[in-house]
Symmetry: C2
Subunit: 301 residues, 2 copies
């Protein structure tokens, strides 16, 4: 038999996708469907179902709706091609990064709180003009952050694993960090980056500098960060653990702004995800190489 069915979460289904089936969050399809699934799109963060891939006997390709693929790897059957959603979330995350810096430096968080008491508290803010911004992570998110900061007059420096043109290497971090006004974390979570931002890292940040984390919470050692606040400030879209427990001291630490891991999650996500899914299914059907391949299997082009 030909397993030519595409199985997609109903919220991400492109409008006119031939020979496809959709599923509601958590509703596992019946055997008639499972037998025919050749291309599978797992659900988004709130309803993880990577284990479903093991239960489609004729599966050829999986298109994740996320950039991260660690959770999927453990369930990927041999021979199946795994693609991530590079390009779908990065711009939203870069946009949030810019918003977090400006909100923190112009006191929009304080202004929002002051509204409840009707308090008009004018204070001079900090501007990104001529500010030195170090962006650690030179991938899709980091480079989009750099692009977004350019017309604001910031002096940016990307930092990647290895030195290359316009990108400094992590080995240069100690000398680069001393005069950075903002340090943005936009790295993937790997054994090298987990816990990278510890007391020794934070000690290199100058007084009043801003740490922005849009990567993963565990890149930062939370207790070490707490010890450096408010000597430095922080704007964190990701923390460890998530959700942050109601009684965690970080909630009320001085100089910190926390957003609830909203980096990639905007109305642009379903639109861009549908476009990606439609394009990938088209490639799969016509035998063209898939884009965004993170594991190349042998059951699909």
């Amino acid at each position: 038999m030909t397993a030519d069915l595409v199985l997609v979460p109903e919220l991400l289904a492109p409008g006119d996708l031939a020979n496809s089936a959709t599923y509601a969050p958590g509703v596992f399809p019946d055997e008639g469907i499972r037998e025919r699934v050749g291309f599978f799109v797992p659900d988004y963060i709130d309803n993880p179902n990577p284990e479903w891939m093991t239960r489609f006997p004729h599966l050829q390709a999986v298109q994740l709706p996320t950039v991260g693929f660690d959770a999927a790897l453990a369930h990927l059957p041999t021979g199946v091609t795994l693609c991530n959603a590079a390009g779908v979330h990065e711009q939203s995350t870069a946009e949030l990064t810019v918003g977090l810096i400006i909100a923190k430096w112009r006191g929009l968080d304080r202004a929002a709180r002051d509204m409840a008491e009707g308090t008009w508290d004018h204070r001079r803010g900090r501007s990104l003009q001529e500010a030195k911004v170090l962006i650690i992570g030179a991938g899709g998110v980091g480079s989009r952050i750099e692009n977004a900061l350019a017309p604001l007059g910031a002096r940016t420096q990307l930092v990647g694993r290895a030195r290359r043109e316009r990108v400094a290497g992590v080995d240069e971090l100690p000398e680069l960090m001393g005069d950075a006004d903002v340090v943005v974390l936009a790295v993937p979570l790997t054994p090298e980056t987990e816990g990278m931002v510890d007391d020794s890292f934070l000690s290199r940040m100058q007084d009043g500098a801003l740490l922005v984390n849009v990567a993963r919470g565990s890149v930062v050692v939370m207790e070490d960060l707490l010890a450096h606040l408010p000597r430095i400030e922080a704007a964190l879209d990701v923390v460890d653990p998530e959700p942050l427990p109601i009684d965690h001291p970080l909630w009320r630490a001085p100089g910190v702004l926390i957003s609830p891991h909203i980096g990639g999650d905007t109305d642009a996500f379903p639109r861009l995800a549908r476009q990606l899914i439609a394009a990938q299914v088209e490639r799969w059907r016509t035998g063209e190489p898939l884009a965004n391949v993170v594991i190349r299997g042998d059951l699909s082009p």
Copy 2:
């Protein structure tokens, strides 16, 4: 006698300005100084002193630290040249505009308030990608807002008094407003713009659209805006009156974010103001034409 002395607020004095005197906020200089002042820099918003210009008998030129010059006009002696601070505040205001849009659309105001209770409330936000942003006011602030929004993927349209290349005319507003996701007010306060944003204007904004005011509070008719919230949302750096009284209903209106008129006031301001003052004094001393002239007198080059 030659009135070749430059009188500058101490906080804005360039470091190495020859033949100059500084003054502390509100401290009027004695006669020995007043007689010699040829070039005067009034103080910033918090300590207005435009009336001083009438008391320097040999005054030739005034360099304001602000872009607006309405308050100064009433006190300008005949023949004295008046210059504004175009270029000093615009980028900070454009930066804040971007921050206000992102803060509102990603719920950073709600996140800041949620921190007090330790509430982790993940919600999908709106992205500037493909968002239609109408920028009313095609001057220094408006064009910088357009530049800042470009790498974020927004579709921007500048609107000016008259149609010209890449700028729509105000007469086109009715047709342009219907599908705008964001309407930014970046106009000067003039008889035409005062009260421009009234019930009829607001009625043209689509449900869920965001009004951003970084111009002047009285461009918007506050009672009319209150009637349209939260059908539309608003992010306001300027309101009418300022400071907003503690019991004003706008503080607690749904869908609104208020910042306390911080648009142009960042750490970049004194730096850029000092650069401008130094450059203008150099021109004045060497007989070159001054920049940023808003009223050309006959007592200076």
